[in-house]
Amino acid sequence: MSNKKILVVEDDSDVRLGYHVLLKAHGYDTYFATNSTSAVSEARKHLPDLIILDLGLPAGDGFLVLDRYRANTFLAVVPVIVVSARDLHGNKERALSGGAQAYVQKPFDDDNLLALIREQLGEPQYAGVGTA
């Protein structure tokens, strides 16, 4: 069984590395995009099983990328976890109604994120993970 593919769209290099280390350690193959253009092209190229999308992309068009994913036939079914450092009112609602499956605030708890990922991929949760 091949590893599940996760595309991470994040412009900060350190944070990208952090994702990579964490996800790889948990058995996922990771791919990266650093801006909105490559976000779409990489997604189309790799057809990942999950996308982690940072809203705080340069030029602030994280939502645009989300729209483009939804508009694409193949990408529309890919679950998207939106990550955001900004705390703007209404961001969460906008993301969820824009087609994202989940919304996570940065800095996130990695256990939390992993649980979310598993859930979105339909994988079983580990015992002890998640709140009662």
Partner: protein, 810 residues
């Protein structure tokens, strides 16, 4: 020779009485030569009758006559007042003394003895006639005199009566004159006072006796408002003059009078007197001056403030404007001004509203204030602020409207700029904060990520020391994170952007949740945390997230400020004196808070005293946030403590009640409460959702979807009640009959099927509806009654446990 006294008098008339014809003839002849008028009589009787017809001037009377003798005739004549003064010469033959005495006594004036001597006769006749004439003259004279005296006396009496009457009238008039308050002065043509009434005495301080005879203008030190010569000329020409004058009283006081002079002429048209009436108008003049000054000041004030005053006469539909008004509107002054000229300047889109407002003000006979725009001739737009009120006539009808206008364009522009800059600043602040948080959180993410990675051993096993150090880093990252969160929270609170979603919520669950979250931190510090919640505590009416947040802040503080081995406790119960309020207490047995710090405890950036451990204090925003959150949820927070024995923080939260929930939702009480149905939407999960947060999100989504199905005035979505994690139920009070309600139910179903992602989330949907048995008393349709009716109906229909949010303990 005529013996009459006055040659003009007729000749004297002599009567000869003798029975003897010859004697008669003899006498007659003797007297004829003297040109007397002679009459004769034969007897005494004839003599008497002749005398009666025409009394003679002299009678020659024979004594010896048959029948009535001379004596008797004489006696008779003497008895008759008409004839008693006629001289009688008795002619007698007897010459004795006695007969003469008898004759004398009978009234004879003289005698003649027969035969009569001619010369004697004539002399005696002449003398007696002369005497008679004198006597007659005297009589006539004294009669005339008497008549004259009587006439004169009568005349005098008449005159006296008239005079008395006139005097009485005069007295009356004089009294009236004195009654008059006005000073009435009569002066002659030399200006000397002739008459001076009481009013003049009072006004000028001179008694009448002192004033009379003096030059009036000197006495009063008079100044006229025109030249005196001019006034007097007018007086002479027209007979009267009217004007104002200044007089000075005896004591020097100035009086201003309205004076009227009238010229009196005599029978030949020559002016003889001037009557002047002075009316004291000093007070009025002063009041006028005051009023004038006030008006001047007002004009100055309104002009300086650029406030124009206007008056609108409704009957003629014309306006009276002051100079400032024309200035404001940039129109050339015209008085009066037609209303249309003003309305033409008002911006068309504002005119309708203004005129409607004016109509309303007139109708209610009150006052109004509006703002509207006008367009000046040069096309520029000014904003006018207008305040006006109606003016009523004596019958209370609206005849006019008066008001002021001010050009507030600058102020409006400033206000708008201020508002705009406020908005800009707000947006800038928002953007700034959002940027700041983003910037702060990004490096924080990386730190946290790698700390986590290291800690989890992915990058290799850690030595115990390394683990320990990593723990410190991680703890600090968390601290930093919470500080940023707090900062943003406070900013949101301050800008009013923080909203709370009040739902029926379980205090028990919230407390348990908070304790779970902080269990680790408590353990690390060696602080024991216990909790005590009354078993049948009703649900709270609060924001779930915020409640949890408050508990975490308070519990975190409790743990932080308690020494190792200390205790922290959370309690929840009903308020002892109010069953509608819940009390939550978080207490510790730490160092407590000094009394002098209690007052500012809940202020922003309050820093606690040095804690017992080396732990940092944080930003000090926690308690401030708690205070704001408590207020947003309708409660309060305070600290109850005994120093040296720890602190207890207490906050209140309202108890959930359907009544207080329904009331604000129902705007007016005119709905058909008799036809109300309950729609129950049940979402059942096929399996438990992994994360509480996720479930909340989904619940919110479901709720907003539901809301889109409802008609705003007719359906009320009740707030979220307790859900047990498996079943989520929503209750809708629908004010519709059966048909309407089933339409609603169908709509809900189709919406959820289309947009609800039911398959994805694994939820099943069931929609049911039942009519509510509500008894409505048609005589009492007040809002309170209807709410109570609705509430009781709902309570009956919905499982009371669910409705009251009874807690199911895990």
């Amino acid at each position: 020779m005529n013996e009459a006294l006055d040659p003009r008098d007729p000749p004297a008339h002599i009567l000869i009485v003798d029975d003897d014809r010859q004697n008669r003839r003899l006498l007659e002849v003797m007297l004829t030569a003297r040109h007397y008028r002679i009459q004769t009589a034969e007897s005494g009787e004839e003599a008497l009758s002749l005398i009666a017809m025409q009394p003679p001037d002299l009678i020659l009377l024979d004594v010896m006559m048959p029948g009535m003798d001379g004596n008797e005739v004489a006696s008779r004549l003497k008895l008759n007042p008409v004839t008693k003064n006629i001289p009688i010469i008795m002619v007698t033959a007897l010459s004795n003394h006695d007969s003469r005495m008898i004759a004398l006594r009978a009234g004879a004036a003289d005698f003649l003895t027969k035969p009569v001597d001619h010369a004697e006769l004539c002399v005696r006749v002449r003398n007696l006639l002369r005497l008679k004439a004198y006597g007659d003259y005297y009589d006539r004279y004294s009669q005339t005199l008497e008549r004259e005296v009587i006439a004169r006396t009568a005349e005098l009496r008449e005159r006296t009566t008239l005079l008395e009457h006139q005097t009485a009238v005069l007295m009356d008039q004089a009294e009236l004159l004195d009654l008059a308050r006005d000073a009435i002065i009569v002066r002659d043509m030399d200006r000397r006072v002739v008459s001076w009434n009481r009013g003049a005495e009072l006004l000028y301080g001179w008694a009448s006796s002192e004033a009379v005879g003096h030059d009036v203008f000197t006495l009063l030190n008079t100044t006229l408002f025109e030249s005196r010569e001019g006034a007097e000329a007018t007086l002479r020409l027209e007979g009267q003059w009217e004007g104002e004058a200044i007089h000075h009283s005896r004591d020097g006081t100035r009086s201003i009078v309205a004076s009227r002079w009238t010229l009196q002429r005599n029978g030949d048209g020559v002016p003889i007197r001037v009557l002047s009436i002075d009316n004291d108008i000093t007070d009025r003049k002063l009041a006028d001056a005051d009023r004038h000054m006030l008006t001047e000041r007002l004009s100055l004030a309104t002009a300086a403030a650029r406030v124009g005053v206007w008056e609108w006469d409704l009957a003629s539909n014309s306006l009276m404007w002051d100079a400032t008004m024309f200035d404001i509107y940039g129109l050339s002054p015209v008085s009066p001004m037609p209303y249309d000229r003003w309305s033409a300047t008002v911006a068309p889109e504002d005119l309708l509203a203004i005129e409607a407002a004016q109509r309303h003000t007139i109708e209610v006979k009150g006052q109004g204030a509006e703002e509207y725009r006008i367009i000046l001739d040069d096309g520029s737009i000014r904003v006018i602020s207008s305040v006006e009120r109606v003016v009523l006539d004596e019958q209370g009808r609206v005849t006019r409207m008066i008001g002021v206008n001010a050009d507030v364009s600058e102020r409006k522009a400033a206000e708008e700029a201020l508002e705009q800059s406020g908005k800009d600043r707000m947006r800038f602040k928002d953007d700034f904060l959002s940027n700041v948080s983003h910037e702060l959180r990004s490096p924080l993410t990386a730190i946290k990520q790698f700390t986590s990675i290291l800690f989890s051993g992915i990058a290799g096993e850690l030595s115990p020391v390394q683990r320990e150090y990593q723990q410190i880093v991680l703890k600090n990252v968390q601290q930093l994170q919470s500080m940023i969160d707090d900062l943003l929270e406070v900013t949101r609170l301050e800008s009013g952007k923080l909203t709370v979603e009040l739902v029926s919520t379980s205090i028990h669950d919230a407390i348990g949740d908070a304790i779970d979250t902080l269990q680790g931190a408590a353990r690390v510090k060696g602080v024991k945390v216990t909790w005590d919640v009354a078993p049948d505590l009703p649900a709270a009416w609060a924001d779930r997230t915020r409640l949890r947040q408050m508990l975490i802040i308070l519990l975190d503080n409790a743990i932080k400020f308690t020494g190792k081995g200390g205790n922290a406790q959370v309690r929840a119960k009903l308020a002892p004196n109010n069953p509608r309020i819940l009390l939550v207490e978080v207490s510790d047995d730490g160092c407590g808070i000094p009394a002098d710090r209690v007052e500012h405890l809940f202020d922003r950036l309050y820093q606690g005293p040095a804690t017992t451990t080396a732990s940092r204090k944080g930003l000090g925003l926690g308690l401030y946030i708690c205070k704001e959150l408590a207020a947003l949820q309708g409660g309060e927070i305070w600290v109850a403590q005994e120093p040296q024995r720890g602190s207890t923080f207490v906050f209140t939260i309202p108890v959930f009640s359907l009544n207080s929930v329904i009331a604000p939702l129902l705007v007016n009480g005119s709905w058909p409460a008799a036809r109300t149905s309950l729609v129950t939407v049940t979402l059942a999960l096929r399996g438990p959702l992994p994360l509480q947060e996720f479930q909340e999100d989904w619940s919110r989504d479901a709720r907003s979807l539901l809301e889109r199905c409802l008609l705003p005035d007719l359906d009320v979505l009740l707030p979220r009640t307790h859900s047990d994690g498996v079943i989520e139920q929503f209750f809708i009070a629908a004010f519709a009959d059966d048909v309407g309600t089933s339409v609603l139910a169908n709509r809900i179903r189709s919406q959820f099927e289309r947009y609800g992602r039911l398959d994805e989330t694994g939820l099943t949907l069931a929609v049911e509806h039942t009519p509510l048995p509500a008894r409505v008393d048609p005589t009492d349709l007040s809002t309170d009654t209807l709410i109570a009716t609705l509430v009781s109906a709902l309570e009956t229909a919905i499982d009371s446990q669910i409705l009251l949010g009874a807690v199911q303990h895990e």
